[in-house]
C-alpha cells in the first residue's frame, strides 16, 4: 500500500510490537501511582457526596430540588442531556471513524468508548431520579399489568427514550467488550499474579487469536460500527424529540434533531480532549496519543462548534421569520431576559472559544487545549440549561411567571456528584483495562508508525520549494521517488 511520505505518523518512538504491549499494559501491572490514588480518592469522595444527595431525593422526593411553578424540568434533564451528549463522541470515534477508515481513531477509541458507557450510566440516573418513585421505574416498560392491561403510550417520545437509551448503553457495551477481549488475552498471557491471571482468563473469554477468530472479529466490528452509526444519530434525535414534539415555544422546532446531534458530538469531543490530554501525560502514552491525535480532535471541535453556532443563529432567525409572537418572545427572553447570562455563557463557550483552534500553535499546546475543552464542557452544559429552563420560566400566563430559577443545594450536589461517579469509573478503567486498543494499534503500525515508515519526512524538513508544490496539489514527484522504499513500484 502506498502512503504519502508526508502523511503524519500515528505511533512515534520506533516501537516494536512487544514495546507497544509493554507500554499499554504497564499501568495494569504497576502499583497504583500517587496521582492515581489522589484522583481516585477525590472522585470517590465527590461520588459519595453525590450519593448522599441522591439518597435525599429518594427519601424526601422531588421537593428537594429547586423546581417551581413553571419550571418542571431543570437540572435533572439538563444533566441527562449533557451526559448523553458526552457519550456520543465515543461512538463517533469507534464507529463512524471506523467506517471512514480513519486510522487515528485507534489511539483514542478504547478510552472514548469507556467514556461513552460511563456517561450513559450517569445520564440514565437522572430520568430515574426524576420519576419521583424510582422503585416503580419498570412501569416505563411495555409489561403486562393489572390495569387492563394498560400499555405504555407509544406516541410519547419519553417512551422512545427508554428504548433509545437502553439500546445505546447495551450496544456500546457490547461493542466495547468485543474489542476488549483480544486485549484482555494479551494481559492474561503476561500477568504473573495468580488472582490476576484467573480474572483476566475469565475476562478474555478464552481468546487465542487464531486467524478465524480475527476474521470474525473484523466482520463483527464492521457490522457493529455500521449499526452504531445510525444508532448514535437516532439516540440524540430521540432525546431532542423530548423537546421538539412538545408545544412549548423555544422547544417546538424542527431544527432540534441535527442541532442536538452536532451539539452532542461537540460536547463529547470536548470531554474526550479533557480526558485524553491528561491520560496521555499521566499514563505516559504520548507516543500513541500524539499531538496529531489531539489536533485532529480539535478540528472536529471547531467544525461541530460552528455547526452549533449556525443552529443558534438559525433558531433566532426562524423565531423572527415564523411571525409567531410567542416564539419571538421566547428567544428574545433567552438572550436578553432575566437569564441572559446563561445564554451568553453558552454562546461564548461554544461558538467563540473553539475558534481559537484555528491556530495551530493553540491546537498543539496541551495546556490551552485542556482549558478550551473545559470551556466547551461548560458551554454545552449551559446550552441544555438555556434550552430547558429559560424556555419554561415564563409561560403563557404572566401571573405564574417566576423571576428566575434557584437551584437548591441538592441540585448542585447531584450535578457535581455525578462527575464524581463518572471519574471514579474512569479511574478504575485506567488502572485495570488496556486504555488503548493494543491489537488495533499494532495492526496500523506498518502504515503509520516510524518503526516501519523509514521514508517518513517531517514537514519541517521538506524543502520550501517542494512544500509549495505539495500545497498546490501538484505533488512532489522527486521527493516521493527519493523517499520511497526500494520494493515499492515507482509511480
Amino acid at each position: 500500500m502506498y502512503d504519502s511520505p508526508i502523511r503524519e505518523l500515528l505511533i512515534t518512538g520506533k516501537k516494536t510490537y512487544a514495546q507497544v504491549t509493554e507500554d499499554i499494559c504497564r499501568p495494569i501491572h504497576a502499583k497504583p501511582s500517587k496521582g492515581w490514588l489522589f484522583g481516585f480518592g477525590l472522585s470517590a469522595l465527590v461520588m459519595t457526596m453525590g450519593l448522599y444527595f441522591i439518597m435525599r431525593t429518594f427519601l424526601f422526593g422531588i421537593g428537594e430540588w429547586g423546581l417551581n411553578k413553571t419550571i418542571g424540568w431543570a437540572f435533572d434533564i439538563t444533566n441527562f442531556v449533557f451526559w448523553v451528549g458526552i457519550g456520543h463522541a465515543g461512538t463517533l470515534i469507534s464507529a463512524i471513524l471506523l467506517l471512514f477508515r480513519q486510522k487515528w481513531r485507534t489511539g483514542v477509541n478504547r478510552a472514548a468508548e469507556a467514556m461513552t458507557i460511563f456517561a450513559v450510566i450517569c445520564a440514565g440516573t437522572f430520568p430515574l431520579l426524576h420519576m419521583g418513585r424510582p422503585w416503580l421505574a419498570y412501569w416505563i416498560l411495555p409489561l403486562p399489568n393489572y390495569h387492563g392491561p394498560l400499555w405504555i403510550n407509544f406516541n410519547s417520545p419519553l417512551a422512545w427514550d427508554v428504548f433509545a437509551i437502553s439500546t445505546y448503553l447495551t450496544v456500546s457495551l457490547v461493542f466495547w467488550y468485543t474489542g476488549l477481549i483480544p486485549d484482555f488475552a494479551t494481559v492474561r498471557d503476561r500477568i504473573q499474579n495468580k488472582i490476576g491471571k484467573k480474572v483476566y482468563t475469565a475476562l478474555s473469554f478464552g481468546w487465542v487469536g487464531s486467524a478465524k477468530n480475527w476474521q470474525r472479529f473484523e466482520a463483527v466490528s464492521l457490522i457493529l460500527a455500521g449499526l452504531s452509526t445510525p444508532l448514535v444519530l437516532s439516540v440524540h434525535t430521540i432525546v431532542s424529540f423530548d423537546f421538539a414534539t412538545s408545544v412549548i415555544p423555544g422547544w417546538h422546532t424542527t431544527i432540534f434533531p441535527p442541532y442536538f446531534v452536532a451539539g452532542a458530538i461537540f460536547s463529547g469531543f470536548g470531554m474526550v480532549l479533557t480526558l485524553m490530554v491528561v491520560v496521555r501525560k499521566v499514563l505516559n502514552l504520548q507516543d500513541y496519543i500524539t499531538v496529531g491525535h489531539v489536533e485532529a480532535m480539535c478540528k472536529v471541535v471547531v467544525a461541530t462548534g460552528m455547526m452549533v453556532g449556525l443552529a443558534y443563529a438559525t433558531e433566532f432567525f426562524i423565531a423572527w421569520y415564523s411571525g409567531s409572537m410567542y416564539e419571538r418572545y421566547a428567544f428574545l427572553n433567552r438572550a436578553f431576559g432575566p437569564m441572559w447570562w446563561s445564554y451568553w455563557i453558552m454562546v461564548s463557550c461554544n461558538v467563540i472559544s473553539p475558534q481559537l483552534f484555528w491556530f495551530r500553535k493553540i491546537r498543539t499546546n496541551m495546556t490551552l487545549v485542556f482549558i478550551i475543552s473545559i470551556f466547551v464542557n461548560i458551554g454545552m452544559w449551559f446550552e441544555r440549561f438555556v434550552i430547558i429552563v429559560t424556555s419554561l420560566h415564563r409561560d403563557y400566563l404572566p401571573s405564574s411567571w417566576m423571576p428566575t430559577y434557584y437551584p437548591t443545594i441538592t441540585d448542585y450536589g447531584i450535578l457535581v456528584g455525578m462527575f464524581g461517579v463518572f471519574f471514579t469509573l474512569f479511574f478504575l478503567f485506567c488502572k485495570t483495562f488496556p486504555v488503548i486498543a493494543i491489537a488495533e494499534v499494532k495492526s496500523i503500525m506498518r502504515t503509520s508508525s516510524d518503526t516501519f515508515r523509514d521514508d517518513f519526512v517531517p514537514e519541517e524538513q521538506i524543502p520550501e520549494k517542494v512544500q509549495e508544490t505539495v500545497a498546490l496539489g501538484v505533488g512532489a514527484p522527486g521527493l516521493v521517488a527519493a523517499h520511497k522504499s526500494p520494493d515499492e513500484p515507482q509511480a
Binding site: F154, W160, T201
Partner: protein, 185 residues
C-alpha cells in the same frame, strides 16, 4: 481442562513479523502442507485469503436478527396499541405508524447486534468459563505462530515442515503436544 484429554503432536513455527508470516503461509500451503491454525496478536490483512478461508457469514446473521428485531417491535406495538387496549391519548390515532418507527429502529439495532455478537461468541467458542490452550504466550504479544499436525508415520515429513518453516523465516521451531480440539473452527 478438567478431565485428561488426548494430545496430539504438532509442529510449531514461530515468526516475528506479520509480512514474513503471510508469505510463509502462502508458500507452505502452496507446497501442499495442511496448516492446522495460525495465531497472531492482531488481525493480519490478507491472512484469511492466504489460508483459503471463505468470507464470514456473520453479516448475514446480523441481518436475520435485525429483521427479527424489526418484526418483534412492529408486531408488539401494533398488538398492544392497536388491538389489545386502545388508549385515547389526546385523540391521536390508534395505528400511528410513523410514531412506531423510533422504537422499531432501536429494537432492530438491539436484537441485530446482540444476536450477531452472541453468534460470534458461540462460533468462536468464547466464554468466561473457557480455559484456552495457548500454544505460546507470546502469540498475543509479538509472535506469529503457525501449527501443522505432525505425521510421524510419513518419513521425513516433520523435518520437511521444519525446513519449510526455517526457509520462510521462522525464528523458532519446535514440536509440541497439544489438545487442539478447538483449533480452526
Amino acid at each position: 481442562m478438567s478431565k485428561k484429554e488426548e494430545k496430539t503432536k504438532y509442529l510449531v513455527g514461530i515468526y516475528d513479523d506479520d509480512e514474513k508470516l503471510l508469505h510463509a503461509v502462502e508458500k507452505i500451503r502452496g507446497r501442499g502442507y495442511e496448516i492446522k491454525d495460525v495465531f497472531t496478536p492482531f488481525p493480519v490483512h490478507g491472512l484469511e485469503h492466504a489460508l483459503g478461508y471463505r468470507d464470514s457469514r456473520l453479516p448475514d446473521v446480523a441481518f436475520v436478527f435485525g429483521a427479527l428485531g424489526c418484526t418483534i417491535a412492529l408486531v408488539m406495538m401494533t398488538y398492544m396499541y392497536t388491538f389489545d387496549w386502545r388508549v385515547n391519548v389526546g385523540g391521536k390515532p390508534h395505528f400511528p405508524f410513523p410514531n412506531f418507527i423510533p422504537i422499531t429502529f432501536e429494537l432492530t439495532v438491539l436484537i441485530g447486534s446482540l444476536g450477531m455478537v452472541g453468534t460470534y461468541l458461540f462460533v468462536n467458542r468464547l466464554s468466561p468459563a473457557i480455559k484456552p490452550e495457548v500454544v505460546d504466550p507470546r502469540q498475543t504479544d509479538d509472535r506469529f505462530v503457525m501449527i501443522i499436525e505432525a505425521q510421524d508415520e510419513v518419513e521425513s515429513y516433520n523435518s520437511e515442515v521444519f525446513a519449510a518453516y526455517k526457509e520462510t523465516g521462522a525464528v523458532e521451531t519446535r514440536e509440541q503436544m497439544l489438545v487442539g480440539k478447538w483449533y480452526n473452527i
